[in-house]
């Protein structure tokens, strides 16, 4: 009798343990995932500007003077090209950096939520001299600022 009871208790403890274990594992798997934006494979693997635009849902982007794309005119090292984009457009929800002549045009895509200033800076690689584009989504429409950056040493495999 005692043996049966202790077995029973053990089984119950195991069951509870399992439930906690599964919950903890699921939490570990899903909790951080929720914090990340979806990685748009098609957009990042697009070979041309047009392919990247299509995957991002861009249907005709207009150049806008309300976007500032800050970068130097000449990059001595294409592996490290500092770029900054500031959008003064109302309801900016996205800022992306694209390099027209890179093997994959799309470099980085920032989601601008209500708690973020539409002002992001990073460093990108450029294989050769190319137009760099800051693509901004504001009020559901797309706008761009374009700047040609001359590269003296390429950044993709030297």
């Amino acid at each position: 009798m005692n043996v049966v009871r202790s077995l029973h208790t053990r089984r119950r403890m195991l069951a509870i343990g399992c439930r906690f274990g599964v919950a903890a594992a699921l939490g570990g798997l899903f909790a951080p995932r929720l914090a990340f934006a979806d990685w748009n494979k098609t957009a990042f693997e697009g070979k041309t500007l047009a392919e990247a635009y299509e995957a991002l849902g861009v249907d005709g982007a207009r150049e806008s003077s309300d976007i500032q794309l800050m970068a130097s005119d000449i990059a001595e090292n294409g592996a490290v090209v500092p770029v900054q984009a500031i959008s003064n457009l109302n309801n900016t929800t996205q800022i992306a950096f694209l390099v027209e002549k890179n093997p994959n045009a799309l470099t980085a895509l920032f989601t601008i939520g209500p708690d973020l200033v539409a002002d992001v800076t990073t460093r990108i690689k450029m294989g050769e001299t190319s137009n760099v584009i800051a693509l901004v989504k504001a009020d559901g429409k797309f706008y761009t600022a374009t700047k040609e950056i001359k590269v003296t040493i390429g950044g993709c495999g030297g």
Partner: protein
């Protein structure tokens, strides 16, 4: 686990400016090694940042973000003593999370 990031978060006039230096190879998949073989792509794909417990920044990256990525962004709000946490996940599923106290 990835290598640690350097994070600086400074609050001024109601805006918290965050500067992050990450530690990652960011292989493009187009580079060849010394024996001429393509080095497979390996890069940070997604980045997110939290101010205390609230997600404030999300980004998706391709392999053309520079090696050892630098990132700067500005959060509306935040004050000295708040915590900024930056996390990334790379194309191999490796992740890293580091935090800094706002000054």
């Amino acid at each position: 686990m990835g290598n640690p990031m350097k994070i600086r978060a400074v609050s001024k006039n109601g805006i918290t400016e965050v500067k992050v230096l990450m530690n990652h190879e960011m292989e493009t998949g187009f580079r060849k090694d010394d024996s001429g073989n393509l080095v497979p792509a390996w890069f940070i794909r997604e980045v997110s940042a939290k101010l205390n417990d609230k997600v404030v920044m999300q980004a998706a990256w391709g392999p053309s973000v520079s090696k050892n990525p630098y990132l700067a962004f500005k959060i509306k709000g935040g004050q000295a003593g708040d915590k900024v946490t930056v996390s990334w996940i790379d194309s191999k599923g490796d992740t890293r999370s580091d935090d800094a106290t706002v000054t």
